[in-house]
Symmetry: D2
Subunit: 339 residues, 4 copies
């Protein structure tokens, strides 16, 4: 049994990791760390009563390292880079769900996150944990930069066409919609039940969301050209799920059938990416609480426009599920195990 | 036009007062006070843009008194009793939505609210603002103690049978269910969207909710006997609405038809209390955003048991709507005006 | 008092008309027609008990005409054109909420709605009831074609820039999101509570929604050029509200401030269109149950791209509220009356 | 691998069975039957794409029997009794989720369900599938009458005190609240998203719900005395979950600590029943999508009253999860397998 520690167990991604890993047959959760008063996990998460007998408290990276083989960092950015080096030095494998190791260019990171990067020497070693693109590197990695939720939904949606070099890279529009858990667990008035449930659908951070440099980096790498997306996120009054509607201008006329065939080819053998048949559109509810990414496509050849619609669960394929998928790859488990 | 001030404009009851009073043809809102940085009402409530041009800021009772004829106190308990005397001394009429003047017995108040009452001399002058029971006193009052939301739903549900003295007063069970706005606007983790929307229905404060002394006081007064209810409140994952299911053991066998006829008699001429026909049950959605209280009844004569089900909007008949109804009575307006 | 009949009282738009008109001081509802068994309005809508004393039943246009001055047709397309002529011949003013008189070109209507138009002679007489664009014609009209919900949100969002002729008319993308009431009241499995509430956000009818010819017609007229929009509607798991995120490529570089100033100019004096200040974005919850259309704008001059975000209540400004606004204009009432 | 067939795969309980059984390591789903046009399971349930490759169609009991060892009947009452005998005659084990074999007294069944029982000879053989009470019988059974959702929540809540014979059996009040999936999947207007999401909390079928004879039968058996409960169900605007608030008058004064200790004793060793510590109350969200039943207790010794609050997921412990728990017991699997 692989001994696994979770640092940041009190956030949504941490909670989701506990849920997933409790059902993983090759894993035993051995450490739960969070910046809270020591409490039993069943007090923090009453649903876990009788399922897990462990205290959660403010542990150092060293203490977690002592009792774990692999460590998930479900921490806010900036905190992750404080913990990761110590864990790596102890020979532990680290899967970091924050943004700290996702951006290869230190200066881009520092500009968008408005802090100094404490350990830029790890940026090169870190592997961007999107298995469908980087499986081979993940297998060999010690440090995984687990992708952001929006980036996962957008990169998987764009990859096949970008790789074909038939996209007008000047004009990519990503109109994304996320459930409220994407905003995290810190209580604010805007995220209270009574504020959201009252028919509140709204855009936010139009073209200045911190997931943008990550999206740009990966799309540029796929296209072999510098891309700056237009990214317009919205909040949906539901718990979880992301649907991204992506508008791609092509430099070539293709119809829906042709586009779908490119996607089916590209994702052949990928269990967790489901390219939907013509006429079928994704719905976040079909992927919620699963690690799937559903992709639907509609092309307007007359306008050289393709609309790609992708759906994921922001907390699963967009965070903790993908992290476990990465762990499975790193340790040679069946990639679907526990998912 | 009656000049009206609202102290506590940043809470749910304050916001609801603004909404209602903006549609009241005889009223002009002249003051909005709250313990916040000065800001335009349209910043605090974007829905109000173009509808009301007023700043909201931290005003003293004296400042509010200068520009208002009547003042609503939509404040937490304890704060209200700091403000009310100053307003009354300036000759203003005060409608207090807190609990500070509802409990006639100072020691009961002090026990349940765990603070000293600062101005007990007003307890006698204050009129309990339930128009269906105290309309005549309200008309003459300067200080209204506007009822709590749960008490409104329970007192209106029990009054006709208690008045008839046919209830076993030892064994009244009030199983009440409230929308989340009843818990107020202060952000806490338990009230976040993501915590509530995930199928969260739960009891809380079983038999120690602060609305209990108020319910006991009014039911005892109706029955002419000391009553201690069993009060079990629950939170429903919806914005607003209270449904109380009240179980009354009778010392007499009556059927549903007889019970309904007592209720229809008792509430004859009361526009805001709707006694539903046999076989029709209340639904919170039918009273939401209205000042109605819907009452449905089912009797089990074989068991001498009557189930009374009442539905109100906790923010309207349970708070701000009833406050405006009281204002209408105090100023001789049509009681339905603006409601 | 204007005597008003509502045909199609059992649908969402009909119900919303009743709610709005009950609060209108110059109007008396005199007829409620629907293809149902005769029943009292309080049986159909329990919220209306004590508020309106009228039966609803299957009435002919002639019967409605006898007791009404103005008639709202809140009917499905095809049915409206069966009723409107009879009402107009009796000298009644008709406000039609269906699509039957919105499309000026009979053949376009017949293609999209897949039926023969029964009375094309009225297409020219009908005035498209968007007051912010056609107020003068509305004042003189007998037959109003009340705009669709999506079209209202998109046309108001595009009008100022299209009028300036600075939009690349080849590439307008409208990514719209609607609450579920937009799908109507007929029970289907896809619209059940349990299907929608489970985190269901989804696109539908990508580029073949029936509101498209209406949008194209009005945008083309504004631009003075043939426009075919790309229209991608989505369903949001909430009751009501539409947010349209509109992407406009410009043939000129303008910044957010300049764009906002064009919009504020264009909508100067329009009470129901609120152009939000820089940095403020619309939220459907701020317009729900009101007749406002909120517009937020963000420009990316480097890319000649402008993102316009508009929010309305699909049942109010997108249907019944706008219908009442039209009625107010037709009868010379204050345009805001009852709204 | 146990080959398992599901008849009634298109309802909520059938869908939940598929979800659970897909994660069960000892089971293979071999048949999906429903009264629908033949379609692939991924068309009926898009979430199942890539997870299960099976068609669902209108199969006879015989056809299902040919390819299955055990059969779940997730059918409406009346239909189940048409299928069960044929399956049993073929030597299959049957777990029936309908009410057809729950009521031991044929005449009581026929009165409440208003039909003739077609195979009363099986009523005696059928075992009421509540493992915490009847585990030994379940182990040996061929036909399980899987309990109803409300009965599960109420019987588990009452059993310990009833067994102790300290309850006044004349006056048991069960105030239950259920998520909307409890009402089934047939589309009706009352169950549409737009009807429910608008703050709709309501009682229904007050004291004439069909789960009553089942509750009475089991409570009477526990108490050794004829019990007729007062059962007042309510609909909560959420997908799933039942919370029952049960009021028990005792003939003995006990405090909360004593009551809790009785419950902890009674349920010792039962993994799926979690008796909560003093001061902790159940919340449906803690049991949703799990097979747990959480029980919280508060006693008022001064009034000889105990309030028992139980929470389950109506589709899991209240239906499909309990059915799988029964299957695990019948086949000697670990009782928690797949749950």
């Amino acid at each position: 049994m692989l001994k696994v520690g979770i640092m940041g167990a009190s956030g949504f991604a941490g909670e989701e990791l506990i849920k997933i890993l409790l059902g993983h047959p090759e894993v035993k959760i051995t450490a739960l760390a969070a910046k809270i008063e020591k409490m039993h996990v069943s007090k923090m998460y009453p649903w876990a009563k009788a399922m897990l007998d462990l205290d959660c408290f403010d542990m150092s990276a060293e203490d977690v390292a002592k009792i774990s083989d692999a460590v998930f960092l479900a921490l806010p950015h900036k905190i992750s880079m404080d913990f990761a080096p110590a864990l790596l030095k102890k020979g532990k494998k680290v899967i970091d769900l924050s943004a700290d190791f996702r951006i290869k260019d230190k200066s881009v990171y520092e500009k968008w996150y408005e802090i100094k990067h404490e350990c830029p020497e790890y940026l090169k070693k870190a592997v961007y944990g999107l298995p469908e693109l980087y499986r081979k590197d993940i297998k060999a990695a010690d440090l995984i930069a687990n992708p952001g939720c929006y980036p996962t939904s957008i990169i998987l949606g764009c990859a096949p066409l970008l790789k074909k070099k038939i996209v007008d890279t000047d004009c990519i529009i990503c109109d994304s919609k996320s459930g409220v858990s994407g905003a995290g667990r810190t209580p604010t008035q805007a995220l209270m039940f009574t504020e959201v449930v009252t028919n509140s659908f709204r855009p936010y951070k139009v073209n200045f969301h911190r997931h943008m440099p990550e999206i740009d980096q990966e799309l540029s790498s796929l296209a072999g050209a510098k891309i700056e997306v237009n990214f317009i996120p919205h909040l949906v009054p539901m718990e979880r799920g992301i649907l991204s509607t992506i508008y791609l201008k092509l430099n070539k006329k293709i119809n829906t059938k042709e586009a779908l065939s490119m996607y089916k080819d590209f994702y052949k053998g990928e269990y967790f990416v489901r390219v939907l048949d013509e006429g079928i559109l994704p719905d976040t509810k079909n992927v919620v609480r699963s690690n799937f990414c559903d992709i639907g496509i509609k092309a307007f050849p007359g306008k050289s426009l393709v609309v790609v619609m992708t759906a994921i669960d922001n907390l699963v394929k967009g965070a903790s599920g993908q992290a476990v998928q990465n762990m499975n790859i790193m340790y040679g488990f069946n990639e679907k195990l526990g998912l």
